[in-house]
């Protein structure tokens, strides 16, 4: 087999190259590898830059939504105005409109300005009254109705200020832009500046953004994502309780039990196709099937959940099947070899081993559903909803919004303050997605077994 030892003749030595010098072919190969590596590094670089730009623009635009300016002033709750009958009967008191509370608040702000000795040239009553949000009187009314004892006293109140004034402290509104703005004026902003110096106007962390419902076009400062979070949560519950059992059971059947014939091939192809169907098509399907045919209410999380279930099922089925396929066949043989039935081998051995993959696929499917907007627009989740839905299961049929739809909704509004709100809602949405992905990783680590 081995050749005879070569005589060390001169011609051979001449063609033999030194190992210390790379020959042309090697140099070429190394250069190609280097080039390829730099392409890869460049791709990663571009991706990272894009990510940084995206995140910084969202956080830069949305961080403001988590800070809000409040005016803290003593408000004298005039019993004659707020309870004309004077019997503290909540039913009677609820007949008093928000308008009256507005007057009480206006008076309080006037007093505060006068007491503070603030004098600004050209400051009108409209400027002073417009300093506070239109929402503030409604909030005060709710507070008084909840606790009638407050009537007749003077309470220290944190009042939401107008979105423009709030925007001034966040840098969105300037003196120049206020000049041309019908909703504010430089004098109003100067007044706000003065109040801030006196410590009456504070900008602080804004939990209300997370807990409040949406607000009308005139009151961006009061808008929050509370209803949207609840709606999204309800929909995720529906998806979790429908898509996961159905999807996992379907994949187990298809992968482990179903005969491999033309019908299962057709089903398989169709599931793959369904995964690629645009989500808006599912929205139309949901509109036709669940609302028009089944008569379920519009804007309800149950319908949204059902539509998202249909949309998530293919994702869950495909990833679960992949996870089941990845379990080595030797484990199935081992189980069958000791006399386990097909079902025992699947449930005792295959499923636990496929669990990390199934969980990851499921959570990614849920995350995808959480961010889905288009189908929800079609089933009426885009409606303006201020009422919180009740607790499930009844609440599933109440109107609600959803986070991505809320983002879409706010970007349609005229007031630039809503852009900040929309970015804030995106931050909330991203935070939820991040939590879900972290959960996926944690569960994966936890269930992963080595062999």
């Amino acid at each position: 087999m081995t050749d005879l030892p070569m005589p060390a003749d001169a011609s051979r030595d001449a063609t033999k190259s030194s190992l210390l010098v790379a020959d042309a072919r090697t140099r070429k190969r190394n250069a190609a590898e280097k080039r390829f590596r730099s392409y890869g590094a460049a791709a990663i670089g571009v991706a990272l830059v894009a990510l940084v730009v995206l995140l910084s623009s969202i956080i830069g635009g949305g961080a403001g939504a988590f800070r809000q300016t409040y005016l803290s002033i003593p408000v004298a709750l005039d019993a004659d105005v707020l309870d004309p009958k004077g019997n503290r009967d909540p039913a009677e008191m609820s007949k008093v409109l928000t308008l009256s509370y507005g007057r009480v608040l206006d008076a309080a702000v006037d007093t505060a300005v006068a007491d503070g000795g603030i004098e600004i040239e050209g400051l009108s009553d409209k400027d002073i009254g417009g300093l506070i949000s239109k929402e503030a009187s409604a909030q005060l009314r709710d507070r008084v109705l909840a606790d009638p004892e407050l009537l007749g006293t003077t309470v220290e109140t944190n009042v939401l200020v107008n979105g423009r004034v709030d925007g001034y402290f966040k840098g969105r509104v300037t003196m120049e832009s206020a000049e041309a703005d019908g909703n504010t004026s430089p004098q109003q902003l100067m007044l706000a500046e003065e109040l801030k110096e006196r410590g009456m106007l504070v900008t602080r962390f804004n939990w209300d953004f997370v807990t409040n419902p949406d607000a009308s076009d005139q009151r961006p400062e009061a808008a929050g994502v509370g209803v949207a979070i609840l709606g999204s949560l309800y929909m995720m519950l529906v998806v979790l309780f429908l898509a996961v059992p159905i999807g996992v059971a379907a994949s187990i059947y298809l992968e482990e039990f179903a005969p491999k014939n033309r019908w299962t091939d057709v089903i398989e192809v169709n599931i793959s196709n369904l995964a690629a169907v645009p989500s808006i098509v599912f929205g139309i399907l949901g509109l036709a099937a669940f609302i028009n045919f089944a008569g379920l209410p519009q804007s309800a999380p149950i319908v949204g959940g059902l539509v998202l279930t249909l949309m998530t099922l293919p994702t869950i089925i495909i990833s679960t099947r992949a996870a089941l396929k990845a379990v080595p066949p030797s484990i199935r043989d081992a189980a069958l070899g000791v006399g386990a039935s097909k079902m025992q081998s699947v449930f005792h051995h295959v499923l636990p081993l496929a669990m990390p993959g199934i969980l990851t696929g499921t959570i990614i499917g849920l995350a995808q559903a959480l961010g889905e907007t288009a189908p929800l627009l079609l089933i009426g989740m885009v409606a303006f909803v201020r009422e919180f839905p009740a607790a499930p299961p009844e609440g599933l049929f109440d109107p609600a919004s959803a986070l991505p739809v809320q983002v879409y909704n706010w970007t349609q509004r005229a007031d630039p303050a809503f852009i900040e709100r929309a970015s804030g809602a995106i931050i909330v949405l991203l935070a939820f997605l991040l939590c879900m992905n972290v959960l996926a990783i944690v569960l994966r680590r936890r269930f992963e077994r080595r062999w």
């Binding site: 005969p259 491999k260 080595p328 030797s330 484990i331 199935r332 043989d333 081992a334 189980a335 069958l336 070899g337 000791v338 006399g339 386990a340 039935s341 025992q344 005792h348 051995h349 081993l353 077994r449 080595r450 062999w451």
Partner: protein, 265 residues
């Protein structure tokens, strides 16, 4: 009925445990096993030898109906275990496999503890009434697989953490734990080093006391070392079947002789 059968048959070494008649196996269009007739004896090690792809593993998997799991496989003919046709419509393969255990080529312990690996079979077949009985079965099985002394202090550790040879003996213990009557081994030593192979071979000799052992092997030396009966398969046919000594010293068929002397295969 099965019990009386067993009593009648539990006489000596020459009892026929498994008898196969005119067994044909098709994988789709491929005729993998042709007309195999063989009688496998109780308390005997029977070796199946032959070149790769000759059908010896396929035939082995027919004996506990593992081929049922391959959708395209079709089996004709009859295989009788203690006189009962195992391909009868009324036979549930699950029950059959509890009586005909199997050890595979690659050690395939479950990713569970050593204890759970062995206890799995008895658990699903309800062979123990309480924990103490189960403990006893596990110990007996591990002793039977010559593994007890090595693992008795770490029964709760994962079976996958053992060495290759230990894993294979764990798989044997797992197969033995359901008290089978026949033990099928599909090249049990092909993934093991010589020392582990020696241990498993020694074990096979012990197992013969209790079971009928059928072993598929690529190594003729191994067949000669461990078996009393040898069957030579070639291209799906059972060419020759007889006492191991006879097969290796005076083969009747020219193909057997060619294989044994290393000219084919």
């Amino acid at each position: 009925m099965y019990d009386t059968n067993r009593m009648e048959n539990a006489v000596g070494q020459d009892d026929i445990k498994i008898s196969a008649r005119k067994v044909q196996v098709f994988y789709g269009d491929k005729h993998a096993i042709k007309d195999v007739d063989v009688d496998i004896l109780d308390k005997t090690v029977t070796a199946f030898i032959g070149p790769s792809g000759c059908g010896k593993s396929t035939f082995l998997r027919c004996i506990n109906r593992m081929n049922d799991t391959i959708p395209i496989a079709r089996i004709q003919g009859e295989i009788r275990l203690d006189g009962e046709d195992i391909y009868d419509k009324r036979v549930d393969p699950v029950q059959l496999r509890a009586r005909v255990g199997m050890v595979f080529q690659k050690p395939n312990p479950f990713p569970k503890s050593i204890y759970d690996n062995v206890a799995y079979g008895p658990r699903i077949h309800g062979l123990s009434r309480n924990r103490a009985e189960l403990d006893e079965i596990v110990e007996r099985s591990l002793r039977g697989a010559a593994l007890w002394n090595e693992v008795k202090d770490r029964l709760q550790e994962p079976g996958t953490g053992l060495s290759g040879g230990q894993q294979q003996r764990l798989c044997i213990a797992r197969a033995v734990a359901t008290s089978p009557e026949v033990l099928l081994m599909d090249e049990p030593c092909s993934a093991l080093d010589p020392i582990a192979t020696g241990q498993v071979e020694e074990l096979i000799e012990q197992l013969r006391q209790e079971f009928s052992v059928v072993i598929v092997t690529h190594s003729m030396q191994q067949a000669a070392r461990v078996s009393q009966k040898t069957a030579f398969f070639h291209l799906g046919n059972l060419v020759e079947y007889g006492d191991t000594d006879d097969i290796f010293t005076k083969p009747q068929d020219s193909r057997t002789e060619a294989y044994i002397s290393g000219r084919i295969g």
